[in-house]
Amino acid sequence: MLFSSIIFLYYFLPVVLAAYFIVPKKHMKARNIILLIASLIFYSWGEPVYVFLMIYSAFFNYFMALEIYKEKRKGGSGKRNMLFTLIVNLFILCFFKYFGFLMDTINGILGTNLHYTALALPIGISFYTFQALSYILDVYHDRTKPQMSLLKFTMYLSLFPQLIAGPIVKYRDVADQLEDRTITLEKFGDGVVRFIFGLGKKVLLANNLGALHAAILALPDSQVSIVTYWIGMIAYTLQIYFDFSGYSDMAIGLGKMFGFEFMENFNYPYISKTITEFWRRWHISLSTWFREYLYIPLGGNRVTVPRHLLNLMIVWSLTGLWHGASWNFVVWGLYYGVLLILEKYVYGAYLEKVPEWAQHVYAMLIVMIGWVFFSSTNLTVALHYIGVLFGAGAFPLANMQTLYLLRTNFILLALSAVISTPEPLAQFKLLCKNMKIPGIIIIFVILILSTAYLIYSSYNPFLYFRF
């Protein structure tokens, strides 16, 4: 099930909210059970078979965490159990996500043609596996006590607001909230506002920007122009931000409605002036996960320079690989690894002296080109696209198609660019301080328009009979 669907918004969510709040506050256990059942239904809706895999993962990690804890209490290290758990979790993830990638690479290197079947990727497996790993490692390192209740742990792992697309919620960040959480009408309302803004970002902005990007990619070579491809790259840049951050907003908003406080996942990444800053603002839960559980255990930056460089390359290639099982993702990750190294060791100091607008242009260019690698099906396609952007292939600067695209998408692009900065939200907050009604109207106009766009996606005129 998706948040941005009629069935979720107007059927699933009202029922779950009603069931949850009918139960009086003091029966937290009953409320947790309701959330657990709702989350399992939510997940099984999209994955009717692999829901069992997720339940298995919950049980397995719950059990192993207790094992590790028991062993440590008796004076043991718990290391073997921890390694066993890590390996099984990673094995499951690799089996579904990276098996095909591995076979293709082997076939490519050895020249063989080993046959295999690529299985469909269970939704959210990257997210819940990483959440489970954070739990096991925190228990092993005594950073948190294990969860005694299987019910509460499974609820944590399968919690529907963040199961499918994050943020990656570390167990220790919400451990207390599993036991008890307070919900006030104000907090609920905050969640509503946050959720609706996220919905608007996804449905009104991201989906339409995506359609623009797809249309540009589909243009035959005879209609391509340099400016058109720039527009396409900008469209994708904005699309992926609104898609991802919109979903995170919805997750955080939904969490709030049920009394959970999740960490922020995006902090206006496109106002960054350096790449280092960018990665402090983009997909924060993932970069902090890698930092805490991979980078620092490898030694972080408290090692020799060559080792530090190696650590960065390892972490960034895996960050890339986490996003997708294909070499262009690894390249994308390494691309950032190299740039971060350059900023830290080579030109970081000079960069700070450059005027702010130039830093901003530098950062955005790097980021946008990175997205070309990220969004292309393979490296050749990516390099071709980038080539066109900078004049390769003798494509015209602009043509009629360019004008058409600008004319029909200017408002969308301009609006999106503005909304990717903190200004509009700041103005909105100011507005709400003084007058409440306009603010409420804006929120619910976004809800109504989003509903209209979602319904339209099912509009399917069947004119066959008359042709």
């Binding site: 078979v49 298995y56 059990f63 094992e67 499951i92 089996f95 079947t117 299985l119 469909a120």
Partner: protein, 161 residues
């Protein structure tokens, strides 16, 4: 006392691992089907069953009776009974993407339903044959059969892939 506890957790770990392996093996074999060409499958059917006693159908008949457009798929085998009131038919479709299987299955099920309503009032044998139809999916193939002994054809098909 502690010895029993340790054994208990060892056993649990082994069981958990076993459950996982079995689950993954089941999922994998269900998704897996050898990439066999339709003509090979057809040859197998011709040599091991009496499918040649049925009428071999073409693109137009695929559209007419099953409502499927041959260009959407990577091949098909479609045989129908030669008799006017016969409901025997065998259809094997190889789809381009696994997600296409759903729409093929729906077409097959509508076909079965409409056949049943056609023969409802005067063809009890036909209706019972239709109700025992086999619809089976594996990998990128969908197999549909209405016959007195549909398992025979299904067996040859399963063997072929």
């Amino acid at each position: 006392m502690s010895k029993i506890v340790i054994d208990h957790s060892r056993v649990t770990k082994i069981v958990l691992l076993a459950v996982l392996i079995i689950f993954l093996a089941i999922v994998y074999t269900n998704a897996n089907a050898k990439n066999v060409s339709m003509s090979k499958i057809e040859d197998q059917l011709k040599s091991k069953t009496d499918i040649t006693s049925m009428q071999r159908c073409n693109n137009r008949q695929l559209m007419q009776f099953m409502g499927l457009d041959y260009t959407n798929y990577n091949g098909y085998i479609y045989y129908k009974s030669k008799e006017a009131l016969g409901v025997d038919e065998i259809l094997i479709v190889k789809v381009k993407q696994r997600s296409d299987l759903t729409s093929v299955q729906e077409s097959v099920e509508s076909r079965i339903d409409s056949q049943i309503s056609t023969f409802e009032s005067y063809g009890p044998t036909q209706v019972s044959l239709l109700k025992n139809a086999i619809v089976y999916k594996k990998g990128k193939y969908l197999f549909y059969c209405v016959a007195k002994n549909p398992d025979k054809y299904e067996g040859v098909f399963r063997h072929a892939i």
